[in-house]
């Protein structure tokens, strides 16, 4: 037998036990904050002033004393004095008035909770001796926040993987139907898109803001695949599968063009409105709510059509018994949302609230006849308090409770365990036997032994000792490579 202890020791030296949270948070601060700001780009007001956002920067944690002094405190002081260990966020803002760019200002837009031992923490990079000097436990893993003096850990949330087609066989009213589901995620927006085949073989698609199902054929036509041949091409050349599609096509012979289809969809999404509005709304719905992860512009429609074709193919294969339903508990179908991801959700909402407030303040200033000033329009507390409140109570955006918890300091091990905990959002009151089982794919990722007894059994998990996180890859970097290798781009053809 090989002695694995030195390996393990070396591993843990490099990858401390709560590295995942700290890395995730650092990524949030360094990259994703800027992305969120870029999503908004600028605020347009109704009074002719526009504010354009520039670079966002976060400084190291500090506290503002009663006399206005700014101190870069250490975490221990925050704990003792019941302070919040937060870092100031600065954002470059450029007011534009009547197409005249004003002077760019660097405005403090609020305070961001500082994760202990992250890059914006004052303990970052300190040696053991320095940590002791700073009044810190040199063995403290970090990876949590300090809000009003209490230590708050963000619990990893285990979610079903977004942007992945999941096949299901469901029973509705004693009828077995085959369904393909996708949680399409773009930014903070999640849209559930389903493709369903009913008993008669009719295929329907449902997605947010559309009541009921839209027949697949109509949707494809609306997406710009107008010919029958084109629709079949997006799916398969297998005769058995084409058969079902032909049945679907026959049902809607009168729908010939994209315009016809838009008309029908418009009636569904904006019944009782004017025709112009209906068409506009139909286009909007298709671009914004159908598979938003592929894109939200009209030119993305053709790609959405091909994606839908893929989903239909899978549904039909399932119906024909060529495929089995996907195992929802397979760990390949799960994603863990770490501290950085959770902070991202929170910050996005808080930042949106802030922009709305800035807009309101600017408009008010103008109405009152004052010169609009970016400095005064930004009320930093709007952002800070929104975040602080969520972190202090655990009530996250989207109505999820218990996301942040008081760090369990019973002993050193309980701290580590708490920071490596992952919670499934499934309800604890229902049996959910399958979800609670130890799944073989959890081997090496989730501890097989550590789970609470009682109603949370199997839903609250703990990471295995040597579990590592991969954080995905930017697809914009990957796509050119694929095209280089000869992958054909989906394009609208005549």
């Amino acid at each position: 037998m090989i002695d694995t202890k030195p390996v393990m020791r070396a591993f843990l030296k490099k990858r401390e036990l709560v590295r995942q949270h700290i890395d995730s948070f650092n990524d949030f601060v360094e990259n994703r904050l800027q992305q969120i700001v870029d999503e908004t780009k600028e605020i347009e007001t109704d009074v002719g002033v526009t504010v354009r956002f520039g670079k966002i920067e976060v400084e190291k944690a500090e506290v503002i004393e009663a006399d206005g002094a700014r101190n870069r405190i250490k975490p221990f002081e925050a704990r003792l004095r019941n302070l919040s260990y937060f870092s100031p966020i600065y954002l470059e803002m450029t007011p534009i008035k009547d197409d005249q760019e004003g002077e760019t200002e660097r405005v403090k837009i609020g305070m961001l909770p500082t994760m202990i031992k992250s890059k914006i923490c004052n303990l970052y990079g300190l040696t053991r001796e320095e940590l002791i000097e700073a009044g810190e436990d040199p063995l403290d893993p970090g990876g949590y926040f300090i809000v009003n003096g209490s230590e708050r850990a963000l619990v990893t949330i285990e979610d079903l993987a977004p942007n992945k087609i999941m096949l299901e066989r469901t029973e509705k009213y004693n009828r077995i139907t085959e369904v393909a589901k996708v949680f399409s995620k773009r930014g903070g927006f999640r849209a559930l898109v389903t493709v369903e085949r009913d008993k008669e073989g009719m295929i329907g698609v449902s997605f947010p803001s559309v009541p009921g199902n839209i027949p697949f054929v109509i949707l494809m036509r609306a997406l710009g695949v107008e010919t029958d041949q084109g629709i079949v091409n997006t799916i398969s050349d297998d005769p058995e599968i084409i058969q079902t599609i032909l049945e679907n096509l026959e049902e809607f012979l009168e729908v010939k063009s994209s315009a016809d289809a838009m008309e029908i969809i418009g009636k569904k999404v904006a019944a009782g409105q004017t025709r112009d509005y209906r068409l506009k709304r139909a286009e909007q719905v298709i671009d914004r709510y159908l598979l938003p992860h592929i894109g939200v512009e009209p030119e993305d429609r053709i790609r959405k059509a091909y994606y839908l074709g893929r989903m239909v193919l899978r549904v039909l294969e399932l119906a024909l018994g060529r495929r089995e339903p996907d195992d929802k508990d397979h760990y390949a179908n799960k994603r863990l949302r770490l501290a950085g991801d959770l902070m991202e959700d929170l910050f996005r909402v808080a930042f949106y609230n802030l922009t709305r407030d800035i807009k309101y303040q600017l408009e008010r200033a103008v109405v009152r006849g004052k010169e609009p000033s970016v400095q005064t329009a930004v009320r930093a507390d709007v952002l800070t308090e929104r975040i602080r409140h969520a972190l202090a109570t655990g009530n996250w955006v989207g109505g999820r409770a218990g996301v942040s918890q008081l760090l369990d300091r019973t002993n050193y091990i309980s701290v580590l365990s708490h920071l490596r905990r992952a919670v499934s959002p499934l309800s604890r009151s229902q049996p959910h036997f399958e979800a609670r089982d130890l799944h073989p794919t959890q081997w090496g990722k989730i501890c097989p032994s550590e789970t609470p007894e009682g109603p949370n059994c199997g839903l609250v998990k703990n990471l295995a000792l040597a579990c590592e996180f991969s954080t995905g890859y930017d697809e914009t970097l990957l796509l050119p490579k694929l095209y280089e290798l000869g992958v054909k781009k989906i394009q609208k053809t005549g």
Partner: protein, 887 residues
């Protein structure tokens, strides 16, 4: 005030008529304001003093009673327009469809109606529920297109939940609905299920709203002096406001549209006043965004009036603390900490006989232990003794007073552990006041309470009345519950060390010298004379059987097979070398050993016979002494177990490995047969299922075989070493653990299963990436070859965790589900009772069963469920003959 006892014969539910509401209303509420500037309630407001009092010191303007005396009085709100009562909307819908839109007659021909009427009468006569007939009538009437009486064409009525009715294209206003309901004749209403004494159809549409008394919705005064009103009051304020506005608008002749809007709003407020969780209606909210708790919410659910205030109540004179074991107290005793004894009291009426004693208690007061907490004068006023001036009170005490004295030794109390799943979960114990802070209980009562000492807490209730005390003593005492009504055997009995102790003492060849015998008997509190010793090679000694025989009634005769019986094909009976054949003649154990079958909980044959033939007190005494004897015996003999109890010889291990190898090979063969399609399919199974079943069967057989080998070797090695294997002793005597546990520790853990199947889920085509795709072999699907002693390899450990997880989830899920099932069973069966004519009836006197359990037998008086145990009778006669022959 003398209370005249009355018997409630029945309770009848009906609707409140507008007239009745006006009659009971003491005040007409007209203004939405509650208090004036000075903080006094406004007359005609929602806090009208005529509705009762909630503030101490004030008197009720209606009855003159003070807080606590005045029950409160109803008020009323005259609604400007009628409003539908949500609770009856469904019933209204059904009736509207069944009556003519013009003349209001039931849409059925007269002869049909007559037929229904007859049927209903017939049903009522025999006490059957007439609802199904009414349902049928309404359903049939709905079909009619044209009225039989006025020839009016009927239109389809749509019910738009929760409170809107649409006929054809016109909306029916509550006024229209009410008018239609009014037109229904009394005769028609009767066949539609109305009891005309208490209900008329149109009363389902409200014209007057009763306002509950203020005592139902008291306002609370915060520390800041601010008043905070009850949710119901808030809702009533809303109703009043809208009602007022609607009235003003009607009087001012406002346009129809505005009136309809206000009417709709009034309907909304009254709907949410009754039920704030109606589907399709946004719940009315408090200013803080919290939904209001209105009438239905007060009654519904776990925290509602029914479940938390009527079915369950909080009690005084109770205590709760951690429990711990005490083998030295009797099974019907409970050790009570002095701290608790000082807090709980028993009322004692002072008589000339006990006055001196009682005075002593009063003198001690509430702080010195055998004391009293307060005294009660004949007029019911109480004086606390938690003060120093007890002297003057002692002077005043005379017969007729009641002294609430501390709990003392010998008092009967009720002892309970949740969940109270059967009647043995609450039993009456005698108090033993003890030091420290836990309740102490004898280990024999652990099984009925399902208690252990890993932090369990139990409740204790001090009985306050003489009748209750007598009832508890006769019906609920521990010894009365030895026999379980579940299976007709003892549920109270020896566990763990008591069993192994008795077994070790009574095994063949165990000898005690006279000194040892005396020590043991003394420790167990047995005062019987020692019998003649057995003499062998000039040495005198006693056997364990002789010692235990001292505890038996002198005339008991019994023959049974002990737990250790191996069920050989040919039974050697008395000559069984293991002592598995127990023979008791005239109170003497002639052969056999005592183990779980003697006085163990759930199994004790001997204990069972003693309770049934010699009474519960004899059984209690037997159990107390036998357990003490056994515990002292095992202490003397010595007993310990360790991991070396699972040691096997190399030979045994080799044999086990061989069996497992063969089993795995056989599994491979089965899979091959399956792949080649030559596997014989079992009837009613698919080929895959057949394969799975065969594999499971093969592996479980293999595991059993390894277990047998392990057991065999353990037995052999203990014979060779002259020292019995402790783990095995526990397993075979029934003290703890089973042979399966032993097998898993020493030989092979066996197949891990999730939901009754081998482990199937995981990666595509395989459970774990360590296996090839499509591998159906034993190890790939969760067969654990190792033993706990040997240790599991990582794969085995993971599969074992999977199997273990299922167990954890099951227990977690099951507790909640079984609690719910229990609740439903109790609700369904709670008032069934065996009457004196032996029939089982419900409260209406309707017979559910002619004889309880169809045989009229009380299961706790049966022999393990059998009403007549023929073999027992035969045995008792044979035994009696035999013992006569012996003498």
């Amino acid at each position: 005030m003398r209370i005249i006892p009355k018997r409630i014969e029945k309770v009848k539910f009906g609707l409140l008529s507008p007239d009745y509401i006006r009659k009971i209303a003491e005040s007409k509420i007209i203004t939405a304001d509650t208090y004036d500037e000075d903080g006094y309630p406004i007359e005609g407001g929602l806090m009208d003093p005529k509705l009762g009092v909630v503030d101490p010191g004030l008197k009720c303007k209606t009855c003159g009673g003070r807080v606590g005396e005045c029950p409160g009085h109803f008020g009323r709100i005259e609604l400007s327009r009628p409003v539908i009562h949500v609770g009856y909307a469904k019933a209204i819908n059904k009736i509207l469809r069944a009556i003519c839109r013009k003349c209001g007659r039931l849409l059925l021909p007269p002869d049909k109606i007559e037929e229904y009427r007859k049927n209903i009468r017939k049903y009522r006569k025999v006490g059957r529920n007439e609802d199904p007939i009414v349902e049928d009538l309404l359903k049939n009437a709905k079909m009619t297109k044209r009225c039989y009486y006025c020839d009016e064409e009927q239109e389809e009525i749509k019910f738009d939940k929760p409170t809107t009715f649409i006929e054809g294209k016109n909306r029916l206003s509550p006024t229209d609905v009410r008018e239609r309901l009014e037109r229904i004749t009394d005769e028609d209403a009767e066949v539609m299920g109305f009891d005309l004494e208490v209900a008329r159809p149109e009363w389902m549409v409200l014209t007057v709203l009763p306002v509950p008394p203020v005592t139902v919705r008291p306002s609370i005064t915060l520390e800041s002096g601010e008043r905070s009103e009850d949710d119901l009051t808030h809702k009533l304020v809303d109703i009043l406001r809208i009602n007022q506005r609607l009235m003003e608008n009607i009087e001012a002749g406002a346009p129809q549209l505005i009136i309809e809007d206000l009417w709709e709003l009034l309907q909304y407020h009254i709907t949410t006043y009754f039920n704030n969780e109606v589907a399709g209606v946004p719940p009315a909210r408090h200013r803080s965004g919290r939904p209001l708790k209105t009438l239905t919410q007060r009654l519904k659910g776990k925290e509602g009036r029914f479940r938390s205030n009527l079915s369950g109540k909080r009690v005084n004179f109770s205590a709760r603390t951690v429990i711990s074991p005490d083998p030295n107290i009797s099974i019907n005793e409970v050790g009570v900490p002095e701290l608790v004894a000082r807090e709980l009291t028993i009322p004692v009426r002072v008589t000339p006989q006990n006055i001196e004693y009682v005075k002593k208690l009063v003198k001690n007061g509430s702080r010195i232990y055998p004391g009293a907490n307060y005294v009660e004068r004949p007029d019911g006023s109480r004086v606390s003794l938690n003060i120093k001036r007890t002297e003057e009170i002692i002077e005043k005490i005379e017969p007729g007073w009641i002294v609430h004295r501390h709990l003392q030794d010998g008092d009967i109390v009720l002892f309970n552990r949740q969940p109270s799943l059967h009647r043995m979960s609450i039993m009456a114990h005698e108090v033993r006041v003890m030091p420290y802070k836990t309740f102490r209980l004898n280990l024999c009562v652990c099984p009925p309470y399902n208690a252990d000492f890993d932090g369990d807490e139990m409740n204790l209730h001090a009985i306050q009345g003489e009748e209750a005390r007598a009832e508890a003593r006769v019906l609920m005492r521990v010894q009365e519950q030895i026999l379980s009504p579940r299976f007709g055997g003892p549920i109270i009995g020896g566990i763990h060390d008591y069993i192994s102790g008795a077994y070790l003492m009574t095994r063949p060849g165990v000898r005690f010298t006279r000194e040892e015998a005396h020590q043991l008997l003394y420790a167990a509190g047995i005062t019987e004379e020692l019998p003649d010793p057995i003499v062998e090679n000039g040495a005198e000694f006693y056997t364990g059987l002789q010692l235990f025989s001292l505890l038996l009634p002198k005339d008991i005769n019994l023959t049974y097979r002990a737990k250790i019986c191996k069920k050989h094909e040919v039974c050697k009976k008395e000559d069984c070398p293991y002592g598995a054949y127990v023979v008791i003649r005239n109170g003497e154990i002639l052969s056999g050993v005592l183990d779980e079958k003697s006085f163990g909980a759930f199994a004790g044959e001997l204990l069972d016979r003693i309770v049934k033939d010699y009474g519960t007190d004899a059984a209690r005494e037997f159990l107390d002494k036998a357990t003490k004897l056994a515990i002292n015996g095992i202490t003397k003999i010595g007993f310990s177990t360790g991991i070396d109890d699972e040691d096997l010889t190399t030979e045994a291990r080799e044999r086990i490995e061989e069996i497992l190898d063969n089993a795995e090979k056989k599994v491979e063969e089965l899979i091959e047969a399956y792949n080649e399609g030559i596997l014989e399919q079992l009837p009613g199974r698919t080929l895959e299922e057949t394969l799975e079943m065969r594999i499971m069967q093969t592996l479980s057989e293999a595991r059993d075989k390894t277990g047998n080998i392990a057991n065999e070797y353990l037995e052999k090695s203990s014979e060779e070493l002259g020292r019995e294997n402790s783990a095995r002793i526990m397993a075979i005597s029934g003290a703890r653990g089973s042979l399966l546990n032993l097998t898993q520790m020493a030989a092979c853990i066996g197949q891990q299963a999730v939901r009754g199947e081998r482990i199937m889920r995981g990666y595509v085509g395989r459970t774990l990436p360590h296996f090839k795709r499509g591998d159906k072999g034993a190890r790939a699907k969760g067969f654990v070859r190792s033993s706990y002693k040997k240790g599991l390899d990582p794969l085995e450990y993971f599969f074992h965790s999977m199997g273990g997880r299922e167990g954890l989830v099951d227990t977690a899920v099951r507790t909640s589900q079984s609690g719910y099932m229990q609740r439903r069973l109790i609700n369904a069966l709670q008032d069934l009772k065996v009457e004196y004519d032996n029939t089982v009836r419900d409260t209406r006197g309707i017979i559910v069963e002619f004889a309880h359990g169809e045989d009229g037998a009380d299961p706790s008086r049966t022999d393990w469920g059998k009403v007549v145990n023929v073999s027992k009778i035969i045995h008792s006669i044979v035994d009696q003959r035999e013992s006569e022959n012996v003498s």
